[in-house]
Symmetry: C2
Subunit: 342 residues, 2 copies
Amino acid sequence: MPGGEIRFAASELEARTFSALREAGADEASAGAATRAMMHASRLGIDSHGVRLAAFYAEALRSGQVNGRPAPRLHRTGAATATLDADRGLGHLAAYAGMEAACDLARESGIGAVGIVRSTHYGAAGAYALAGAEAGYVAICTTNADSLVALHGGKARFHGTNPIAAAAPVAGSKPWLLDMATSAIPYNRILLFRSLQRELPAEVAADPAGEPTRDPFRAEMLMPLGGRDFGFKGAGLAGLVTILSAVIAGARPDHLVPPMNPEDGSLPQAHDIGHFCLAIDPERFVGRAGYDALMAQYLEGLRRAPASQALAPGDREWRTLEERERSGIPVDPDTARFLRLA
Amino acid sequence: MPGGEIRFAASELEARTFSALREAGADEASAGAATRAMMHASRLGIDSHGVRLAAFYAEALRSGQVNGRPAPRLHRTGAATATLDADRGLGHLAAYAGMEAACDLARESGIGAVGIVRSTHYGAAGAYALAGAEAGYVAICTTNADSLVALHGGKARFHGTNPIAAAAPVAGSKPWLLDMATSAIPYNRILLFRSLQRELPAEVAADPAGEPTRDPFRAEMLMPLGGRDFGFKGAGLAGLVTILSAVIAGARPDHLVPPMNPEDGSLPQAHDIGHFCLAIDPERFVGRAGYDALMAQYLEGLRRAPASQALAPGDREWRTLEERERSGIPVDPDTARFLRLA
């Protein structure tokens, strides 16, 4: 955050974010879940999904696009499976509940999966995978989203940025934590590069004809991870996320999801996306002691590997967490105003 | 296959491959499973993992590195989980058995997971995901492997090429089928480009100092999917595969796996890798009819999307299958000699 960076204590940001959502019509559980997920992102340095989204969710609540007082319904369908109808509430509430249910199923049956439907944007997918890992499980969480990413060689938006988040417990340490879009970059990085008037990295975005462009003002769609040569892999992973989150669960495929932020200024329609939560109990495989020993051995090898920076997924985020606990969390001026911090 | 391409009928290749493995000491079940997996790859055009591997497996059987007469042991550990000790047999036998068990668990409990240990190279991961989809499940299969891929910014081999394979049933059609290494290219493509004296694609391989190189003779390690800017995503996915296949299951992490093909000519040691098989029953989520309708809707959208070639994962392979059923399967001269075809 260049220029006049303003930092705030996490506790203050958390309280203001919660209040802002309550004032916009969210009930206590919904405001609490969305605040928790946004604070996860803000604490760990994933600012694109941090408290800057509070204004966006407040608007979605006020417009009625998102139901601030949902009655989510969990329905057990097997020894290891359940579905969850999010009742068009904030996706955060549904995803935390879904991951908790997946962990309960895994405790009972070794692995648990929950498919969530009639849900909305849930912020950083890693928040829910992390919750699963903190409960002791290897956890995976995916969501589909409205179309922003071209197919490999595509000339129009098709998939959402469809993240894959995964987390795994590490004995005596913070979890291993991967949270990645299946596009190379998120869409809001194009907007950021427009405001900075900077060139995009190569092969991350395409112009309206589907040709790769580094000009953020000509960028009309994202390209899948892998770029011009290997984008079929990113597109394949995006499709896997759609199948898990929408097709299995029973939500709309990405290309039929109305955008949450219509660019033509029209009123947003009901969003209706799906999420998938998976929890695996290592106890039912190698056993907890064996798992802990192998995970330690894997990470020790990784940290000793010759590299410019031998980082496990999450390492950078946990360092940011420490730094921000000491020095506060930077907030952009618009968000600070919205949260009545400045 | 440039130059003197020789083609053979699938049935002939299959019989010769099976015989070659039997002669090398594999029992009927092992030879049958390995042949089935190699023929999957050869039929679908994944020639790197097709019958050209028969000579390699025969050598591993003859040296005793792979147990040709294994007694795999499946152990049920929960309503939805099991482990499988592959007894150092051909990985194909273990992986087909593991996926079949995962499907049985999913039929009973909605989702099923099997962790496989004490296993060896299993060829194309997609063979097992496809078997799960053909049985009616959304199926995922992963394996770890010996080190060939640098970390993001890494200067040494660390992860295996650690594939992610996934398949999903499509009513009235061949399954959706994704089978991708988490490196940009497989290692044998470097060897192929050496023999062709051709430049590698950009940012797929690195020299001994970890610098990206397009010279196949200088390439010492693969780079993770995503290249110089986004390789942390490919490395993160490779790590997820290691955690699922080795850490949870109880096999060795990639960097401790002795190579199957020691480049210094030393005798290969026991390989000991792990696989992970997951099967999900759509019946326990949106239901079969809902799943079929959403999958059709998703694929219809995909095939209509403006693109130079709007292909779903698997489309190219199913076309190759048709073409090879008509015209036979091309085999390189060395493999043709080994299989006594030429």
